[in-house]
Subunit: 695 residues, 2 copies
């Protein structure tokens, strides 16, 4: 039996419950749109007030439908939806689409109504409520009330969109039509009472009509399913581009009240996207700009860009934006330059880059030769062609050569259209040549093409086998020694140290370790030892007993809890101080945070976060993301640091978080000394707080 | 006698040298465009090959013109231009516009040609060469060959554009027409052999038709004139928005080959713009987006934004982008919320923000009430109205209320148009309501409106009176003591210190100063004293002689030059280490650089630069621009630093650079200790290298 989602996207019959013959009303639109865009199967309007709608019979209720519809599209208000859904389920519909709002997004009562709606659906799948429906462009099945379906010229393409907002679906579709960009399917998921983003990503991964997946997200309700679907997409070689709101307090509040999505911190989402190889659109426009380039089937192998133009200023815009994005625009080598010069174009600049053919070069045969020559040259990895106002009246002079060139080469060919010329943009995009109207979008598209060509997808599970935890774990805060023993169980080496019950024992320990040493009070009751004078550094071995006695006095004076003893510890030098931290996002789960230790990390907010489990690739990406990573490479004469050991420590820390699960309330290693290459890392201090397992 | 620039913009008669009757050719366009757009004065085409062009007589040469034209537009190729310019000058034309390329932008020969061209013009002013001309929209005088003049619907507005590229002029004009944005004048300056950006800024400052000035720059040829013109604009309350290419190597090369502009570092341009209160467009689109909002006559007084919408998703985009830009979207207070609720709009969310009127609220009277209520509320400083697809067929339902609201309030009203709807964008912009098609551009426009309302313009000259330099300056590198004496002359206090010739003298100095101390070798031959073991810190007073002896041995062993003696210096503690540096941009002149001392400033590239002279406001802006500035404010329990003294030191350093002029080859203070509030700063080390005055 065919999957219900498959049937929802490609129904053989459709019931429209609450349909109206008035196309001026929202309830009149879906019937009209289905017909207008060419749906061939039977449509059953359901409304007791009409006998017919158009030429079709209208049914008084769901029960009287001649056959069970594959999909029931429910246009009724929130108070009557649940009954209709129940009836559709009884009648044997495979899926229902519910447009009404006033459910989960509108507070506790709405959430209760939504639970009842889900219950009423029984085994039938639900899209919505609070959705505008879905648009299957490939098969021209428009199951939606979106006013964007009034438009002519909706063309099929390789991009599939899943949007948590119906309005955004309409906006994206309308903008795509304006630019001649085609889609395969557009699905608005709304409140996701049943089917959500993950299920439709799954569908699009298997959908031969779709090459690139675009997501508009307000929040991810089922992170695990989302993760699995995204990994399937990566394995299938289908890039995902996501635009997510909620980067600011205002945005989060707006999104939550809009479709009732759960928030989660934006930093955690950023980590999720990075770990899954999802490209994050940085602006709303990029949600179209990036899939456009990614769906063209290009391979970008390097950073050398040729710019072909007939107008100097616009080419400078592209050169500058590409340069800022890290691309080079080298002058053609001698072989290429002499081929170009042989074309003998008057006043043209053919040995520079931009290659300026001037107005004299805007002729079909010349453009063809220039573009072919540039693409054939091994030195160039991509070409951006600038369309100036001279091409406005004869777009084929440009588009013809570009289309022929694209057939012969898989190098990216992008177009920047300098004047306001929507018709040229449309024509190019429909011809399969990505065309942009801002120089910055060309540069961003190139950046993402390069990343997609290069990319390696982190594995979902960490590579390290979980150790059996060999120490018995007590509940509540561990003291420093216990915390470090736990870290060591997971493979993170601590400083050499000895626990002493008395100053005399500490003195004996000091003799064993050799000085100079670090001496600390040991107490699970004190989080910030320095604040009560509980840490002394650079203590000669012979002074350790006295240091302990002084500390004990200060500890008693502070009156903060029970002194359990002293920690006598080797002094580490010559390393870089890092911190490893742990946080838990209420929506996306546990995460590891790293940063350089000390005040500068706070000042420059130079930290990196990834969700648990952190793979080896993730750990390397985290380190590379830090601006201060440059210090690990032997900056200004310092020795190179043991990056491999830091990678291992991050993975071990992640592994520990995973194993302890909900039991882990707090965990931090600070500082973690990263020693010179080959010497490993040392956890010099740390905190762990555990919850009762039962709780 | 009227200014020649004024005549150039508003000529009473025009000669077109090299005119052609073929409107398909570039040489046929200007005549046709002048006629088409309604130029009323006499036009004299000059071309020996034709008797008439259109209904007008065509003259065989410039000499035979019936009267001297105000402007001669020269369409000839580069080889014949100079003669024509000479003839126009002789005939008494006030200004000539030269379109031909192949001059300064094309290498040494072209530069020589350009010098001859300038000479041939004599007292007549020149626009170009390598320009597309100018477009005076206000008076409908289109002195240009830009194909953008084919367009219908070029509307007048309050924005004046000066572009160094003719192609960009066409692109901006075409995009403006597409969006319904009006301009007063658009002038392409090309190679600027005579008239350049500064002269036209000057014109626009005095031009009653212009409220906002937009600049497209590849490089500023005359920084002093540019500075003066920009300050005049600021004083006249006319904001300048500049987009400048050359942010990357690729962009710089492209711009130089395009109009032969001189490069200059982008960082220096950034400083120039900041000091002159020029708003830098960060993308090409912002060159239109920002002037659009700034020309609407709004005043934005705070950061509280109301979003009025009928569609939830698009409103979330605006809320999120505005939030990222630092705006708040608070829910309406009780008084405002109850006024809104009284409107009784079904399903509407009127006590939140976005204020979602839903489809039921998209009615003219309701929209009017909602918008008026929000604008009347004291809690909101601005409103963004979202236009959804529901308004596509009845734009007046939205535009009517917006226009009436704009008449009553000077609070910013911006519109975000969610679907692809160029006709609505046009309609709104033509009605004086700035309309945007990306949520990010709304947010950026609000940011710049706030900045423009707030702004204070730095004075062009520093406030400090120049001291007479009391020390005799020698040429070449100064030693540390001489350098610090020079800094002190300009008011930057150095550490307490004594120069000693021998270890014994040093010992005596140490007793005088009291320990612990810093001891250094003194030698103008050694720039990096630490590298040869020439610095010792934390030396007890009684060990200074020995420290000097050891140092002297190391100095001799290094064999780097002449040892002049020793510097015995107080040890400064409890301050923040800054550095003050000096650089000279080949195009824009001397600059001051500041940053926190130490390796982290390099790692995080956290420096700020301003051109000399640095005003007090500039110095404060520089400090505020540093991420590490937070450390000056008493970060994490540290004492607040003496920011006033740092401001003074920056201005003093700038003053020193200004006074020494070309004589100053190198100068740096590193570290400059910034002590706790009230304790001032101390220059602890520094370098100065002077050139021979004669050189």
């Amino acid at each position: 039996m065919t999957d219900a989602v498959e049937r929802l996207i490609r129904p053989r019959s459709i019931a429209i419950v609450g349909a109206s013959p008035d196309t001026g009303k929202l309830t009149g639109r879906p019937f009209a749109y289905l017909k207008k865009h060419g749906y061939q199967g039977p449509i059953y309007p359901v409304n007791p007030r009409y006998k017919t709608i158009g030429d079709d019979a209208c049914y008084p209720d769901v029960a009287s439908l001649p056959t069970p519809p594959d999909v029931g599209l429910v246009l009724l208000g929130s108070e009557r939806v649940t009954e209709a859904v129940s009836e559709l389920s009884k009648r044997g519909a495979r899926a229902a689409i519910v447009l009404a709002s006033g459910f989960g997004e509108s507070g506790p009562e709405g959430r209760a109504r939504q639970a009842k709606l889900k219950e009423a659906a029984g085994p039938m799948r639900l899209l919505g409520p609070n959705t505008i429906g879905l648009v299957n462009v490939t098969d021209r099945i428009m199951l939606s009330a979106s006013a964007a379906l009034e438009l002519e010229g909706i063309s099929a393409g390789k991009i599939g969109l899943v949007s948590q907002s119906g309005g955004i679906l309409g906006s994206v579709l309308s903008r795509a039509v304006g630019r001649g960009i085609g889609f395969s399917r557009l699905i608005a998921t709304g409140n996701e009472s049943d089917l959500g983003v993950s299920e439709f990503i799954d569908f699009l991964v298997d959908d031969p009509a779709t090459d690139v997946i675009a997501l508009y997200l307000e929040g991810v309700r089922k992170p695990e399913a989302f993760r699995e679907a995204a990994i399937r997409a990566a394995r299938a070689g289908k890039p995902i581009v996501a635009f997510k709101v909620g980067r600011s307090e205002s945005g989060i509040r707006s999104a939550v009240s809009h479709t009732g999505a759960l928030a989660g911190s934006d930093k955690a989402y950023d980590a999720l996207f990075k770990q899954l190889g999802i490209i994050r659109a940085q602006s709303f426009a990029e949600l179209l700009d990036l899939p456009l380039a990614l769906s063209a089937g290009y391979r970008l192998r390097g950073r050398n860009l040729a710019i072909v133009t007939s107008t100097g200023g616009a080419a400078s815009l592209v050169a500058d934006a590409a340069g800022v994005a890290g691309f080079n625009t080298p002058a053609p080598d001698q072989a290429t330059a002499s081929k170009l010069k042989n074309l003998d174009i008057k006043d043209a600049v053919l040995d520079g880059n931009p290659i300026d053919v001037t107005l004299a070069g805007v002729k079909s045969a010349l453009m063809q030769s220039v573009i072919d020559t540039v693409l054939e040259s091994e030195m160039f990895d991509a070409v951006t062609v600038v369309v100036g106002s001279s091409s406005l009246h004869e777009p084929d002079v440009i588009t013809g050569p570009l289309m022929r060139a694209a057939e012969k080469s898989d190098k990216p060919i992008l177009v920047y259209v300098s004047p306001d010329a929507p018709q040229i943009v449309q024509h190019l995009n429909r011809s399969g040549i990505p065309a942009y109207s801002t120089p910055e979008s060309c540069a961003t598209a190139l950046t993402e093409l390069l990343r997609t060509t290069d990319r390696t997808i982190g594995s979902a599970s960490s590579a390290i086998k979980a150790p059996t935890i060999g120490v018995e774990l007590r509940t509540g805060p561990l003291n420093e020694s216990e915390s470090k023993t736990l870290f060591a169980e997971f493979g993170i080496r601590a400083t050499d140290e000895i626990v002493a019950s008395t100053p005399a024992e500490a003195q004996a320990a000091a003799r064993k370790l050799g000085g100079p040493l670090v001496v600390k009070v040991l107490s699970r009751d004190v989080l910030h030892k320095t604040e009560i004078g509980g840490v002394a550094v650079n203590i000669p071995a012979e002074h350790v007993a006295r240091a302990c006695e002084d500390m004990a006095k200060r500890f008693q004076a502070a009156g903060k809890g029970k002194l359990e003893g002293f920690l006598v510890q080797e002094m580490v030098s010559g390393g870089l101080e890092f911190l490893l931290g742990y946080s838990r996002d209420e929506q996306l789960g546990a995460a590891v945070l790293i940063g350089l230790g000390g005040v500068m990390t706070e000042v420059f907010k130079d930290t990196a976060m990834r969700l648990v489990p952190v793979s080896e690739q993730d750990a390397r990406d985290m380190i590379a993301e830090l601006k201060s990573a440059i210090l690990l490479q032997g900056f200004r004469g310092r020795p190179k640091a043991d990056v491999e050991a830091l990678v291992g420590a991050i993975m071990s820390f992640s592994n520990m978080i995973e194993q302890l699960g909900e039991q882990l309330s707090e965990a931090e290693i600070n500082p973690l000394f990263v020693l010179p290459e080959g010497s490993g890392v040392r956890a010099a201090d740390g905190v762990v707080v555990l919850r009762d397992k039962a709780s």
